[in-house]
């Protein structure tokens, strides 16, 4: 299995610098800093009004600490717990999953490399069209809102293949300026008994900039993990079983639905 390292450059230079010096001094994200500042100020105000009591003293102390945390962007508690929300904000969400497929490596690779095939197993992908050897146009319908799956928004972007080695691996990335920055890589290796192929796929996306985008992405993340796992399973099923088993549309005694 090839070792892969990934670096995600922030989408643009307005993103926080990711050099070592800032990394040591800030470990609270923008949202956290803002909330700390506001919450801390409220606590100090309340504590000051009750300053004679033990409660008042505690509120003032905690409030002051939170305000400092907000202003400096550094949290000693985060440091101890090795939490760094400042830099998590600028990094993408990334999911890696593996599956074993009882088919020869070249067949498995070729199916994935023909990018037009991706919508056959990727749930939200509507269409992928190769525009030239390296570039492709992608169209997806994604839920506009995490809780209701009905309202789908169509998004489109262009991507390009950055590295490919036949029957071994493919990496691709959306072109700068895409609505949702995303990238992927997939590696193909023989199983030890040479009777099949291990597929290891990593998909990632950068949430749109801004607090709302980041919050939405945090909510989406567990669903994204599950989705990638299911999509890779569907890939296996198409190759091994030629179809994806379904029960949608079969009869049942339930009046309200058909499966």
């Amino acid at each position: 299995m090839a070792n892969t390292t990934k670096t995600f450059a922030p989408p643009d230079s307005k993103g926080e610098e990711k050099n070592e010096s800032t990394k040591h001094f800030t470990n609270v994200g923008t949202t956290g800093r803002l909330l700390s500042l506001l919450g801390g100020a409220a606590l100090v105000y309340n504590g000051w009004n009750k300053k004679a009591s033990v409660l008042g003293k505690s509120l003032t102390t905690v409030g002051t600490y939170l305000m400092l945390r907000g202003i400096s962007g550094f949290c000693p508690v985060n440091k101890v717990l090795q939490i760094d929300t400042a830099h998590a904000d600028t990094e993408g969400f990334e999911v890696t999953t593996s599956v074993t497929i009882s088919k020869p490596r070249d067949e498995v690779y070729q199916f994935w490399r023909k990018l037009e095939n991706l919508p056959k197993f990727m749930t939200y992908l509507e269409e992928v069209r190769q525009t030239d050897g390296k570039r492709s146009h992608w169209v997806a319908k994604v839920p506009r809102n995490v809780t209701t799956k009905e309202k789908l928004a169509t998004i489109a972007w262009d991507a390009q293949i950055e590295q490919e080695e036949e029957n071994s691996h493919i990496t691709w990335r959306s072109l700068p300026g895409s609505e949702v920055e995303n990238s992927g890589e997939v590696h193909f290796t023989d199983t030890l008994n040479s009777r099949g192929t291990v597929v290891r796929a990593t998909l990632s996306y950068h949430p749109p900039l801004g607090i709302a985008g980041q919050l939405a992405a945090k909510l989406l993340n567990p669903a994204f993990k599950e989705l990638v796992k299911q999509d890779v399973r569907r890939f296996k099923r198409i190759l091994e079983a030629v179809e994806i088993p379904t029960i949608i549309g079969q009869p049942s005694g339930r009046k309200d639905e058909k499966y």
Binding site: S102, R195, E240, A241, E243, P251, R254, K258
Partner: protein
């Protein structure tokens, strides 16, 4: 069409439902001639298998004729008389290639259930809860058959519908139990449970070279079938101490091969019965493993315990010490039907075994509830209720 649907604990009802249609290229539609109840349905009926939904069509042991095929189906055509394997297999995954069909990676349409419960998904089964794929079952006028070429087997001319029916599930399941027992010539084989699968395991034990077959059950009419049809010696566990009896019958050595054809709803006696029922009622254990315990204790040192009765979850008071120190071998699994069905159709065609005698009550689909209750309560000497939608 009419279909028998699971409605809740001990309740099924016959409903009007839409006809099935081809949903995938490898599908076929079968017009059902005969569809049998099965002991494993009792676990669904009792509410012991999770992931049942009111309105699910049940039934998984059946035969009939092809009325429609999907675009990818080449080896079957309209009018073929087929027996349908209860377990679905894709044919392309590692496990299908090893002929371990019930371990198929791909045939379960809802793999998340068993992936969470068992670590990995297992094959889909007709009419056997959403944990096993949620596929509509066979107690209906028509059934959709996924992976039809892997699931349907043409019935040879001269083999009746009644004889072919049980090569869908009971016979291959019983045969696999005997196969997994690793019978050597002259072995003493004990089979717990003299229902359809148990009786087929007894026939199969003889086919595989057993020197002696002993059947254990509590219902005299079933033990009589074991004696008359399967040439077995019998023990009624309500009347004798099974462990002592088996020792006495085998010169103090114990039987070589022990086969559990009962599974998770075993009946027992005395304090063990009270304990298991109480724990299961309180949902502190899913399964009542009385037969499994007895088989482990009864088996000779170095012998084999073959488990074909269905278990769903966890068991309690499992005599691991006895199993380990006696050096027992365990083999188990849901039937690899596709591995055995062609061979068994051949055996039936030659007249070596005719499972048709299991069919004691032929009923219309409207008799769903009566058919299941008769089978569950063992009334009217019922071996199997079989629904005949086509009359």
């Amino acid at each position: 069409m009419k279909a028998i649907c699971w409605e809740g604990i001990n309740k099924v009802s016959t409903e009007r439902v839409p006809d099935p249609s081809i949903l995938n290229p490898r599908d076929a539609i079968v017009r059902v001639f005969l569809s049998s109840v099965c002991g494993s349905d009792l676990h669904l009926l009792g509410g012991y298998i999770p992931a049942m939904r009111a309105g699910d069509i049940i039934g998984h042991e059946f035969m009939g004729e092809i009325v429609e095929v999907g675009p990818e189906v080449k080896k079957l055509k309209k009018g073929d008389r087929v027996v349908v394997c209860s377990v679905l297999s894709c044919g392309g995954c590692e496990f299908c290639q090893r002929e371990e069909y019930s371990l198929c990676d791909n045939s379960n349409a809802e793999p998340e259930w068993t992936e969470k419960a068992y670590g990995y998904p297992v094959a889909g089964i007709f009419g056997y809860s959403h944990a096993l794929g949620g596929y509509a079952g066979s107690h209906a006028e028509y059934t959709r058959i996924p992976f039809a070429e892997n699931t349907c087997f043409k019935v040879p001319d001269g083999v009746s519908n009644e004889s072919a029916l049980f090569t869908s599930d009971a016979f291959p399941t019983g045969y696999m139990a005997a196969d997994f027992a690793g019978i050597e010539p002259g072995d003493t084989v004990v089979v717990w449970g003299a229902g359809g699968v148990g009786l087929m395991a007894m026939h199969s034990a003889w086919l595989l070279g057993a020197g002696r077959v002993i059947a254990i059950d509590q219902y005299p009419y079933r033990l009589e079938q074991a004696r008359v049809r399967a040439n077995a010696e019998t023990l009624n566990f309500k009347e004798v101490d099974v462990l002592q009896a088996l020792k006495d019958m085998t010169g103090g050595r114990g039987p070589d091969r022990c086969i559990d054809c009962v599974g998770m709803e075993a009946n027992s006696t005395g304090i063990e019965k009270i304990y298991d029922y109480a724990k299961q009622y309180a949902r502190l254990q899913n399964d009542r493993p009385a037969v499994l315990r007895q088989a482990i204790m009864a088996c000779r040192k170095g012998g084999t315990v073959s488990i074909i009765g269905v278990y769903g979850g966890f068991v309690d008071k499992f005599p691991m010490g006895a199993a380990m120190n006696k050096g027992l071998t365990f083999r188990m699994g849901q039937q690899f039907g596709q591995r055995y069905i062609p061979k068994l159709l051949d055996i039936v065609a030659k007249g070596e075994v005719d499972p048709a005698y299991l069919l004691t009550h032929k009923l219309s689909l409207d008799m769903g509830q009566e058919g299941y209750m008769m089978f569950k309560d063992k009334t009217n000497n019922n071996m199997r209720s079989v629904f005949a939608p086509a009359g």
